[in-house]
Symmetry: D2
Subunit: 308 residues, 4 copies
């Protein structure tokens, strides 16, 4: 299989967009949209592709559809960049099931947030990871996302897990930079362990101060902007950083800021991709796509921001 | 099928224990323990049986195991009491899938908490229920469990859903009696809508003041105690209520109070059932069974409380 | 002083309204309104009067005004019922200062929630109470109010404090009946320790099952309703309890339910008292009184509920 | 008065340490320690001094002591740097009272977090600021501290307040860099409005990307470290930034990380200052100083970090 020729660099560096999942309805992929979206993102020069994360609405999708998405994505990417597959689940067994599908389809890694129904303690999370990691057939990125899972992987838990087999890094979406700085400090003796930022507004400071990259939702729309910003920060070109960072903030303050629910980020992203003619804006329950008024605002922002 | 002879009374009244799921390991049912447990519970005179709730560790189980549990339980109960099946899921499609399995196996109703990963607004929850209820083949009980789902079904949402087809009642596990009183007030014109209390410590006041019954975890251990308490409260026998309520509080303050994590309720229940020789105390990840020291404390409490 | 003739019964039982503070502006008492309000409340047969609690907006008032309120209230009450004075403060020294003023003015007890800025642990709260109680010149009621203070007096902390000198009871406004039931269980060997409910919607179940009374905000408006309900519950007259409880719920679901902020309880109470001609509806910052539209709704509810 | 010769630059830039309050007991200043501490901090080249913040334990102190501290501090500083005085209070009137004392003593500005007992909405907070600012005799810095006040000044509220008379900037201690970036974006047309970071771990990224400085607790101990770091970041000297930032993280990960309560930051700071012979480590209730074991760990860290 071609994709097996793609090697996951250690540490993984750069921009790894968390791909939205193009849907025609709650249980039907927008297959044509998916192809266009993948090509659009890869054309921006990204360093990987992360599917079935929060941005990918994974928890809202049936397992059948998740499996179909994994296969179609790996087939389309054909090993040009590493594919990372979200396996977060409340059920240990289902997480392993998805990971095995990912390996079979040719993906390069899996990504896991804490099981998010029961309020496990840190000792229990550590044990959970200790049991889980030997059963996973691909390298694992941990995923800290407390606003959704209500559980934090505390720094010491990450530190312990970094020594489990196959644990390759963390994506932190807490927005808590102090947490991120603590991780950097705790893992300074693990140069292969990848520290990735899940909030695009904080990509710059992460890369300027030694982090490895970002999982930036906006890279669904304008992948090159984030790749350029990553490169500028990596090479410490502060004036370029500032002008590109300004564009990232404008996108964030506009596209993600329509509507009154916390889901405005996801709705804005999908709506914008639909306005760009890339894929459908359907969202699985419990969400729904923007209605006409919000759609118009997104359309206007896209024009103002020069996204095409 | 015999179970089809069992009719779900409206409103559903009495004690409907939330059954724990006996496990040999994370993906293997303790089938013999399950049989013993069901017979033990039914011998107490309960008015229904609720499987695959929070107490049943549903989110931690694979779908395969959940389906097996539904079938075995319905086969064992044989229509003696209504079987209610938890279908809570982050995925709309998977909730419908489990509901269809429940209908096929001969269950009488399904139970649903809000989808618990994405932070939906109340308008979105209402729409979610409006889309979901026509697809469900069995009557639906809503399940308010904010400490785990992080989403409340607000009283007005329940009030609206009460007019959707098949919505038969609510199990409230918020522990917020003011919420429960508001529901009673809002639904006073829906005499068929069942108002059930999910916290056994509050069963008495619910039944004394017009609620319909309780989903009491302790009824896994001593089902007759809760049935007697329900009957005493229903017939306003206050002195009997007080002496039985005292026993319920003793059980709660001891069996559920060992260990330092929020999971002590679940661990205590399973440990006690194991001490009683009914079924295995294995818990699926992210939890694990009590170690020896806690096991001894549970064993002592069981003796002190006269549970056998 | 006459008020010294008033003895605080142990345990304190019955209805102890948390009085609102009538204000002409943010630093001026509505002295005439205060006199009318006190006489209105006492005419209802209440068993005590609690000033400077949350309902009394204590944290929003200057110390000068708090001291004036203590003196005027004690002078007006003249020992007809015990006066309880809120001394909750972030500063230990200021709590003692207010307590001394209360004693000098002739009050019978003080009421204290946890210091609410710094996130103290339970061991620190226990030590705080151990240091504080010897410095207080009056019996102390603890006050559990986690939604505002963000700190709980955990049951074990209350249990320990019950043995400190002068600690006479607790007012629980958590709305968590399981907590209340645990307190009853832990303090069953302290028959003098008063267990009071701060949420009027839960007065009935508290008194029916062995609690001592309630601190009911609605008793500012219709004190006799709550006194009658207390008496009915105390004498286990369940049919009377149900008809009176229904009225309490109607008041709660209407008067406290206007406007979109959490402060609607306080605004509704003051607005209703103003409609009744008893006192001004001014609220200290950060709140403000209802505007015209909400005022009209309150006026209509008052008429519908037959409050005059 | 000499201090009147000190002018508050607009925007205020640099390092403004939040001074701890040296105490001999809960209501007695450590006056000699205070003198030593002020001279120690000023010797580091800081750009201002902030007293009576969270680090200064202001909410735990009596007003009498707060007033004494304001006077002694202004007398000691003698206008060498601007003195900022915390006036956060649940009571509007008391906030104004402290502000007037600050002006009388010769301070240059006041600092205010939201009133923190009642859960005000943003519209109410805006109105509160609109009423308060005309009554304040000194420029005002807003203070966002949601972990303690449980209320956020949302970005739009800050934006609106920036146009009220005398509002000079914000100190953000939320640790939420996305919030900080949003503020920068919203206030880009207010070049005089000072954007200060309250978390020293995030000083670097703030200053590198256009923020104005930091309110760094560690500057009580090693003021020059933070001043040097500020200067390096301001002049975009990235290699110097990285080596100094590493020292800041070491201090944070050690000195603030002893003991099991959230108060370990404050206890660690005071304990370290006591080890350094500068002032007493007494803390006002609800906290207490470190016991012997923690004291020894702090002493060891100080030695290891080379703080003297």
């Amino acid at each position: 299989m071609e994709s097996s020729s793609c090697i996951l660099s250690r540490p993984l560096r750069g921009i790894i967009p968390p791909m939205i999942t193009p849907l025609l309805d709650r249980d039907t992929l927008d297959a044509a949209g998916l192809e266009r979206l993948i090509e659009h993102i890869l054309a921006g020069g990204v360093h990987g592709l992360f599917i079935l994360g929060t941005t990918g609405e994974a928890p809202s999708l049936s397992y059948r559809l998740r499996y179909e998405l994994i296969e179609r994505t790996c087939d389309q990417v054909k090993g040009r960049v590493p594919v990372l597959v979200g396996i977060t689940d409340t059920s240990f067994v289902e997480s392993v099931n998805v990971a095995c599908k990912a390996r079979d389809a040719g993906a390069q890694a899996v990504v896991l947030a804490p099981p998010y129904y029961f309020p496990a303690g840190q000792a229990e999370l550590r044990e959970y990871l200790k049991h889980l990691t030997p059963d996973l057939p691909l390298p694992l990125f941990l995923y800290n996302m407390p606003s959704y899972t209500k559980l934090v992987f505390e720094p010491e838990t990450i530190r312990a897990a970094a020594d489990f087999p196959g644990v390759a890094g963390i994506k932190d979406s807490s927005g808590n930079m102090i947490y991120f700085r603590q991780l950097q400090d705790l893992l300074k003796d693990h140069p292969d362990f990848s520290l990735l930022m899940g909030q695009e507004e904080l990509l710059v400071e992460v890369v300027l101060l030694g982090g490895h990259g970002g999982v930036c939702g906006g890279a669904n729309l304008v992948p090159k902007l984030y790749v350029d910003l990553y490169n500028a920060a990596y090479s410490k070109d502060l004036s370029k950083v500032q002008s590109l960072h300004k564009k990232v903030m404008q996108l964030s303050n506009n596209i993600y800021n329509v509507g009154r629910f916390e889901s405005s980020y996801l709705k804005g992203l999908k709506c914008a991709l639909s306005c760009m003619g890339i894929c459908s804006d359907f969202l699985a329950e419990p969400f729904h796509r923007f209605r006409r008024a919000e759609h118009k605002r997104i359309q206007r922002y896209i024009k103002e921001l020069g996204i095409t």
